[in-house]
């Protein structure tokens, strides 16, 4: 039996418009870490030991030696690890045994990077948050075009947008439509 080949949600998309660039980002895994009841201190300590860096405050992300970690909810974080391993949740679980519950989330999200000088002009018609005022450490769950998304600011005019994989086509169509509207004036 031949091996199954993995596909990315946007098929390696890379598009350049006047002042806006869209690019699918790949080559990482997302693992959710849910902190076990009463284990916050142990979790923070183990996290520092395993990955270096501090845990982010709500609405923020920090950098670790394996990639970004984003606060995603009460006692929950998403680790964006540069290591590509579809078993990463299992691989990382041992030191967090009884401290945190790890779940692979990579396949649930279609990640896209949007950048360029007109990024904010597009995103202000797409996402309800005050992104212009954000700092390059902020990220959160929000909605875009009736789709629940994650938005992360990684540069002054660069964002990572994560849409549910099943909605990736409709998400991209909506984004394309808005870019077209913004650029046509």
């Amino acid at each position: 039996m031949s091996k199954l080949l993995a596909q990315t949600p946007f098929g390696g998309l890379e598009k350049t418009f006047d002042g806006i660039k869209l690019k699918e980002i790949s080559g990482f895994e997302i693992v959710s870490l849910a902190v076990a009841k009463g284990q916050s201190n142990a979790f923070a300590k183990t996290f520092r030991k395993q990955f270096g860096g501090n845990l982010p405050e709500p609405g923020n992300w920090t950098t670790t030696k394996t990639g970004k970690i984003l606060w995603t909810g009460q006692s929950q974080y998403f680790l964006f690890s540069d290591e590509v391993d579809e078993r990463l949740d299992k691989t990382l679980q041992a030191p967090f045994s009884d401290i945190a519950y790890l779940t692979l989330q990579t396949d649930g999200w279609a990640p896209l990077e949007i950048s360029g000088p007109k990024t904010h002009d597009v995103l202000e018609r797409f996402i309800p948050l005050d992104l212009r005022a954000w700092e390059i450490r902020q990220g959160t769950r929000t909605s875009a075009h009736h789709i629940g998304v994650i938005v992360i600011k990684t540069g002054a005019e660069t964002y990572q947008l994560l849409a549910p994989t099943s909605s990736s086509k409709t998400f991209l169509e909506a984004l394309d439509h808005i870019i077209e509207n913004v650029l046509s004036v």
Binding site: K37, W109, R125, H145, H177
Partner: protein, 943 residues
């Protein structure tokens, strides 16, 4: 001082006739420059009308803008920025503006007073809706909708600021400058396409130079600040809770232009400054509605801003000294005791007659009855304006206005430029902004002597847009409609696109006089959003056509589409309904083939849409005991169990299986439809009901591509994909087993031995990245078994044959008892909904029970929704015995089978009764049977 660019000519048409205007013109100014004074017909009497105002205040010049095969009605010509190729047409006239047969209404006016329709067209009653109202609406009205889809694009967006300044006149500009210089994030929303407000129209000097110099300098400085955003042509139409303001930005008036024609902004502002200016009001004197009779401020605007002379002989009729800057040949100051008592000229003003008998030839009468501050947006904050006797106008009530909104300039009754700047400075200080240097201005103080209307037997118009005269108002009072709110509804005063900007206060004054009260005692109506008209398309934004709502695609979508799939919407999902193969004549052919193939060999169905929730934590089992009616804490790792979940009120909420992958890890499956609501319910239970439990939830619906592989050959097919180290024999991996495995040489997977179809079946899940590859591998390896992909129709037919409840049965009205699952409810533990599920009416022995149904005559089909009636009972609701919830053709049994809820159904096996369907006029005699039509003992599941 004209602001139009005469070097840039723009061609346009009005009622099919070609004209030329200039860049910087509105349609109104371009028409007036071309000598067109007659621009519309009035609402009811079809009287000839010209422009009264020059901006959003104008009630008369409503036109249609035409594009290819479509048009937009009810646009104010005074707010349309002229563009090359503009095709505008007048409205509410037949056959033409110059000759309108409905002008006969004007001759019939004695019969057409307020309330005429309600009093007259009363008999026969049935005629009102079908005959009278359509006819009246055709004769009296504004523009007409063409009832075609709007071809244009709209966007919606979100803006954020410290300070939203509403209005780009002197008060708004000054406050914006102070806020900008103080480092605030400012949005300045100006509904005009030029900044400056009245400074564009009035010959005012600021700092010893023309006011426009100050405007230009201010604009340059504002636009140079990164933290100040100027939104041109943006009208703030509403104020909502939590500091949210609705604003409509018009990018172009042109229909069919590329990109978004308008953008609807939701502005989140910490505070706002209302600098919306004021609207000049007319004076109600007999025949005051002829083309050529205009507000004095409009005459100045056309003259000074657009370089258009509104008449050869202009007469000024006024009651306040603000009007004196209007260039005129004759001045009639009501304060001298003289006033206009009549006018003449059918399609354009010829002359006016004064109370002293003087007749004056004039083709332009500029009138000014004072100013109405534009307080509308303060009312959206539930602040009710208060009457100011000295200024003769309603002012915002600062006592009830929330502190996050400050009103400045003419909107707060500052009617001279000095007062405007003073109010902007005062507001700036109040907001801790650097007030800067106050510009130097000169001018007399504002003085006014209220003068509302001229008593006469002739008609004096108060509301030009709705054809409401002062006589209508006194009539309303005579008939008992003396409250200002009743007056509005009875006469339509203040309704429609201009929202009574020019008419409201005059109307109130006339009413006050009729009732013998003061205007302060009479009060004013409340203004509600929208302040300016907003096209419905703008509210929809980009959410139309393919963008109306998001879609969710399954991992097998591409493969299914390549293989003849017909898709069905299930929430946002597009699921495969069936797959049509060559030679199949209709959907039944395809569905029957899919069922037969699955039951005889193997079929594959994408079940990724089912909700998947990973539940982890030491208390996961205890938690599931609380949310399911049956016990899960005793489930052994590596095993699955069917579970039924109740709402708090005891009604069945959802069902599905939960698998225990380890001591502290379960995977719950929900129905597709309830995936979100179940997750929300679980989160509520986790956070609010059982906060001490160590439980964590995360949706993995999107993470895993999951396929059901069902049929006698399911295991043989799977064995070709599952890596050899995993034994999936019946002994090693029995019914209701689950495990983490690998497939296709090491790909991570989850395997569950579950069946919805009633066959030997598995559900195989892989990370979604492999979803497309896996469906192709399954279909390729399944070729030797003749495997088929099946859709939701076949899935539905098989689950009905098997007697499994689904959405039609879990319809928010049924309990575990109704579903025949009463025995599932554990007596040893409590769970959400348990107590209320035991309410008397829900546990009646003769209550509804899920049963199977077959037609007595096997050739007859069953219909969903039919109601059961005993054989000899009348077919009326009182004898209703229950209803059919699901039906399907059973390829296995070669007849229709149905599931339904029947009173005492569990005790009525073998009974015959009628399934009565009055909707389809189809009544079938049915036999009550077990709901398990196929393999009632479940032997196929366990082989």
């Amino acid at each position: 001082m004209s602001l139009v660019d005469e070097t840039q000519k723009l061609n346009f048409t009005f009622d099919g006739k070609a004209y030329q205007g200039h860049a910087g013109d509105t349609l109104a100014s371009a028409l007036l420059r071309s000598g067109v004074k007659l621009v519309g017909r009035s609402f009811k009497y079809h009287r000839p009308r010209g422009f009264l105002g020059a901006g959003t205040d104008d009630p008369n010049g409503l036109v249609e803008i035409h594009g290819k095969d479509v048009c937009e009605p009810n646009r104010q010509a005074t707010t349309i920025k002229l563009f090359e190729g503009l095709d505008a047409k007048s409205q509410n006239r037949s056959p033409s503006l110059g000759f309108d047969v409905l002008a006969i209404n004007d001759w019939l006016s004695p019969f057409l007073s307020a309330g005429f329709y309600y009093k007259t067209f009363m008999w026969p009653k049935a005629f009102w809706e079908k005959v009278y109202e359509p006819a009246i609406r055709r004769a009296a009205g504004l523009g007409r909708l063409i009832q075609e889809p709007d071809p244009d694009h709209y966007d919606k967006g979100f803006l954020h600021c410290d300070l939203l300044i509403i209005g780009g006149g002197p008060a708004g500009l000054m406050t914006a400058l102070n806020a900008g210089r103080s480092g605030k994030r400012v949005i300045l929303a100006n509904d005009d396409f030029e900044l400056g407000g009245r400074l564009l129209s009035d010959p005012i000097e600021i700092d010893d130079a023309p006011a426009l110099d100050w405007v230009s300098k201010t604009i340059v400085e504002l636009r140079s600040m990164d933290h100040v955003r100027v939104l041109d042509r943006t009208s703030v139409y509403g104020v909502f809770d939590h500091g949210i303001y609705g604003a409509l930005e018009t990018k172009t008036d042109k229909i069919g232009a590329p990109g978004a024609r308008m953008v609807l902004w939701k502005i989140y502002a910490k505070s706002s400054v209302l600098a919306a200016g004021a609207t000049e009001r007319p004076i109600a004197f007999p025949n005051n509605d002829r083309p050529g009779i205009m507000l004095a401020s409009a005459v100045r605007t056309f003259q000074n801003r657009f370089g258009v002379n509104c008449g050869n002989a202009t007469t000024l009729f006024f009651n306040n000294n603000n009007a004196l800057s209007t260039i005129s040949d004759v001045q009639i100051d009501v304060r001298s005791g003289r006033y206009v008592i009549d006018t003449s000229g059918r399609k354009a003003l010829n002359s006016i007659t004064l109370n002293d008998g003087t007749e004056i030839s004039t083709d332009c009468l500029a009138m000014s009855g004072g100013w109405n501050p534009n307080v509308h947006l303060t009312c959206h904050k539930r602040s009710r304006p208060v009457w100011n006797e000295e200024r003769a106008c309603f002012l915002p009530d600062t006592a009830t206005l929330p502190p996050e909104m400050i009103v400045v300039g003419a909107a707060n009754g500052a009617f001279t430029i000095s007062e405007v700047f003073e109010s902007a400075v005062t507001a700036s200080i109040a907001m801790d902004l650097n007030p800067g240097k106050t510009p130097k201005t000169q001018g007399p103080n504002f003085e006014i002597q209220p003068f509302w209307h001229v008593k006469s037997k002739k008609r004096s118009w108060v509301d030009f847009q709705n054809d409401v005269t002062s006589k209508d108002i006194t009539l309303a009072h005579q008939e008992g409609f003396s409250s200002v709110e009743h007056l509005k509804r009875y006469t339509t005063l203040g309704m429609a696109t201009d929202q009574g900007r020019t008419s409201n206060v005059v109307g109130l004054a006339v009413l006050a006089e009729a009732t013998g009260k003061t205007i302060a005692e009479t009060g004013t109506t409340m203004f509600r959003p929208p302040y300016t008209p907003v096209p419905l398309g703008a509210f929809a934004g980009a959410h139309k056509g393919q963008h109306f709502k998001p879609t969710r695609l399954t991992p097998s979508h591409r493969y299914a589409a390549e293989n003849g799939a017909v898709f069905v919407e299930s929430g946002y999902w597009k699921r495969t309904q069936w797959l049509q193969r060559p030679g199949e004549q209709g959907w039944r052919d395809s569905v029957d083939r899919e069922v037969v193939t699955t039951r005889s060999s193997v079929g594959i169905c994408d079940v990724s849409t089912l909700g998947k929730i990973d539940i982890q934590g030491q208390d996961s089992g205890k938690f599931l005991n609380k949310v399911y009616v049956n016990t899960f804490s005793t489930l052994k790792p590596g095993r699955c169990r069917y579970g039924l979940m109740l709402r708090e009120d005891g009604i069945a909420m959802d069902d599905g299986t939960s698998a225990r992958l380890s001591d502290s890890h379960y995977v719950m499956t929900t129905t597709t439809a309830n995936a979100v609501s179940v997750f929300r319910h679980l989160e509520f239970a986790r956070q609010c009901l059982f906060p001490d439990m160590d439980v964590h939830l995360i949706s993995t619906t999107e993470q895993w591509a999951q396929y059901s592989i069902a049929g006698p050959n399911a295991r043989r097919l799977l064995q070709k994909l599952v890596d050899q180290e995993h034994d999936i024999s019946n002994e090693a991996f029995p019914y209701m087993a689950c495990a983490n495995i690998t497939v296709c040489g090491g790909t991570r997977a989850r395997l569950f031995r579950l069946s919805f179809s009633g066959e030997l079946a598995y559900e195989l899940a892989v990370p979604r990245r492999y979803g497309d590859a896996l469906i192709r591998a399954l279909m390729k390896e399944g070729e030797e078994f003749g495997a088929c992909l099946y859709g939701t129709e076949a899935l539905g037919a098989m689950r009905i044959e098997k007697g499994h409840a689904a959405g039609n049965e879990l319809n928010g009205q049924t309990t575990a008892t109704h579903l025949g699952l009463g025995g599932f409810v554990s007596k040893k533990k409590d769970c959400i909904g348990k107590v209320l599920s035991q309410r008397e009416g829900l546990i009646d022995d003769n209550g509804l029970r899920l049963v199977g149904l077959k037609s007595v005559d096997p050739n007859q089909n069953l219909t969903n929704g039919a109601h059961f009636i005993n054989d000899n009972d009348p077919r009326i609701a009182e004898h209703d015995q229950g209803h059919m919830s699901s039906v399907a053709w059973s390829p296995e049994l070669h007849c229709y089978v149905g599931l339904g809820f029947l009173k005492g159904g569990d005790k009525r096996m073998g009974d015959e009764l009628w399934a009565v369907d009055f909707v389809r006029d189809h009544h079938v005699k049915v036999k009550v049977v077990s709901p398990h039509f196929v393999d009632p003992d479940g032997e196929r599941l366990r082989v």
